[in-house]
Amino acid sequence: MNTIYFDHNSTTALKAEVLERMLPWMTAQHGNPTSRHVFGRNSRDAVEHARTQVAKAVGVQASQVVFTASGTEANNFAVMGIAGNLEPAQILTSSIEHPCVSRPALAMQARGWLAKSIAVDSHCTLNMVHLAQLLQQKTNLVSVMLANNETGAVQDLAGISQLARQHKAFVHTDAVQALGKLPVDFVALDVHAMTLSSHKIGGPLGAGALVLDKRVDIQPLLYGGGQEKGLRSGTENVAAIVGFGAACEFAMQALTSFACHTAMLRTQLEQGLQQLNAQVFGQQATRIPNTSFFSFSNIEGETLVTALDKVGFAVASGSACSSDSTEPSHVLLAMGVAPDVARGAVRVSLGVSNTAQQVEAFLATLAREVKRLSALTAVAA
């Protein structure tokens, strides 16, 4: 059975063209970029070329890109690194952040900071009034994700930055789920720092980046050999960085076609979902085009997801990073969704390789599984 992959927000398959660019760096070209001989210099050139590709994807200069091993590391680096060089004050994160933003913020409480969370409305859009209220207390750092991994809701970062900057706070955005799905312009969003990740855009696992405004003074997370201008020590993962750069280049070329293709499929999906009486979360918000988060009353998300996997569809019940836990999605709870309803949530995240036929087949299967599981629930009740 060929499983159809509908979990692209968790991780994407590596693009064949990206692999092709990476292969030399996984085999024959093995130099350590810090070495001064030709093996080292070749690796250094490859890393620097990738840096220009990543920079171009978000409209910055190459010198503003610091490579990390992952989006998680870049988020930790941003939150703890920026806060680490500032006087302790309030640190604000949205209530729908990935834990790799909210937990570092909480960790800063041990160093005298006060971490508070900014509310979202029922559509998963940041509550600007609440932000303005919170900013009345001295705030030095605000972190709000550009696109949410579960609902796909996109935040008005330019507006958030404007408000935060009026209060002299630094602004960081986790743009991991936005890159490649909508135009991301670092300057237009007016943020001080932005997190990017390779494996969500057809690149390999093992590379991420923090893009920094040059005026930001940031404390390293990792100390050692002084790579990345001393901001991130550790031998560069050349192959993954080359793959990340290439993936950025291809994602920029395919930005419009990705958006059109996945938006069309999602419309098809959500029309079908409506007929099955599903509740779609965040549908009124501006969303990245590939994501749909929904639930059926009286069916556990985990049960439905497992049933779907058995019949050949890979979907998620929430973000992969928290799929260990059976807690309902913190994003849905923040939106005011009742815990019982939240427990039913299923996420479909589409990619370019998905087709209308796959969505059609999925809807047919879903209808059958929902009917079967509802009957079981009814018996159990």
């Binding site: 996984m26 130099g31 091993a69 020590s233 560069e236 993962n237 992969a320």
Partner: protein, 405 residues
């Protein structure tokens, strides 16, 4: 000569990925691309299974329990996590004094410097001229508030092997957490964590024919060692280190460590033969000095200083071999190696040092070529050197009073 690639003798900076490792990795970046944390579908389960198999291989090489292995992005992260994580966790009960060695890698020294800014104090032990630690000096450095000691197993520049077992036993007796950076040790020396009294140990894949960007930290379970996470998020790796696991890289590290376990016995004998051949060849050149103890040393490393040759000219002259002067991680700077300085080498000898590091794909022809090249180039450089001429004339250069221009 110059139109072909130089001979690679810089295996301590990084090793090529073994083709068998690359072959094992490829399927995990193509068809099996799932996120190992995805619990809801087979893509995730396949990835998770591969991650756990690799964890077993890493554990097996060092005779540890797979549950004691935490994945990181490399030895730098492992060292940062071990040192900052344990120092912060235990400082409240034990104190804020740290012990390490002046010849450690920067990824140990710099986290300690960072801890100093947070109120810790560090004793940097000076090694003996052979690069090894005097155990009595280590004992003397211990204070009642010593919380953690970090000593590398194999030095990256001179390849000397410290007596980890003795140092570990002293740490046990004094209730000190003991961390060992073993990035340069895996596949070169036998590591048995069932008997070695070590609490935390850092590993790297790319020094052992695995990919860059992946490493691991050993965290002992019995007696249980606790560390404060340095990377927060989804709670991966039992909360000790969050972040999506890079499956293909982990698979690569597992395979690389498996090959190391299976082949290190035979491989090290072959490498020792090559190193001794190189050593004998180079010792035919006058005024050469081996840096670091030759007995307590991995067979892969030869670090030599060539007297009466200027360091930069030497590096320029031997471009047909890819070697390192000082460690790769600091080779961008022109400062003489701090490791050689700590052994008491003069600036001149430290500057004119070369680290030859031999590995799996080095051949006898490579070694013979290198010997011939070094002999010829050093001969030519010395012909141009007035100092060499004075030396040949029997002038003791240390007693010469130089006039200022």
């Amino acid at each position: 000569m110059s139109d072909r690639a130089p001979i690679y003798l810089d295996y301590s900076a990084t090793t090529p990925v073994d083709p068998r490792v690359a072959a094992k990795m490829i399927p995990y970046i193509t068809e099996h691309f799932g996120n190992p944390a995805s619990r809801s579908h087979s893509f995730g389960w396949t990835a998770e299974k591969a991650v756990e198999e690799a964890r077993e291989e890493v554990a097996k090489l060092v005779n540890a329990d797979p549950r004691e292995i935490v994945w990181t992005s490399g030895a730098t992260e492992s060292n940062n996590l071990a040192i900052k994580g344990a120092a912060n966790f235990y400082s409240a009960t034990k104190g804020k004094h740290l012990i390490t060695v002046a010849t450690e890698h920067k990824a140990v020294i710099d986290p300690m410097r960072e801890l100093e800014r947070e109120g810790f104090e560090t004793t940097f032990l000076q090694p003996e001229p052979n690069g090894l630690i005097d155990i009595d000096k280590f004992k003397a450095a211990i204070r009642p508030d010593t919380v953690l000691a970090s000593v590398m197993m194999v030095n990256n520049e001179i390849g000397v092997i410290q007596d980890i077992e003795t140092i570990g036993n002293i740490c046990r007796e004094n209730n000190i957490i003991f961390h060992v950076d073993a990035a340069q040790a895996t596949g070169k020396v036998v590591i048995d964590l069932a008997t070695l009294p070590v609490d935390l140990m850092s590993f790297s894949a790319h020094k052992t024919y695995g990919p860059k960007g992946i490493g691991a930290l050993y965290v002992r379970r019995k007696p249980r060692i606790r560390i404060e996470a340095q990377m927060h998020g989804g709670g991966h790796e039992r909360g000790m280190r969050s972040g999506t696991l890079a499956t293909h890289q982990i698979v690569g590290m597992g395979e690389a460590f498996k090959l190391a376990r299976e082949e290190m016995g035979a491989e090290n004998e072959r490498i020792r033969m090559l190193r001794d051949r190189l050593l004998n060849g180079l010792q035919e050149i006058d005024e050469t000095y081996v840096n670091g103890d030759l007995e307590h040393r991995v067979p892969h490393n030869l670090n030599m200083s060539f007297n009466f040759v200027e360091g930069e000219s030497l590096i320029m002259a031997v471009k047909d071999i890819a070697v390192s002067s000082g460690s790769a991680c600091t080779s961008a700077s022109l400062e003489p190696s701090y490791v050689l300085r700590a052994l008491g080498r003069s600036d001149e000898l430290a500057h004119s040092s070369i680290r030859f590091s031999i590995g799996r794909f080095t051949t006898q022809e490579d070694v013979d070529y290198t010997i011939a090249l070094m002999k010829s180039k050093i001969g030519k450089l010395r012909e141009l050197s007035p100092l060499w001429e004075m030396h040949l004339d029997g002038v003791d250069l240390s007693k010469v009073e130089w006039a200022a221009h």
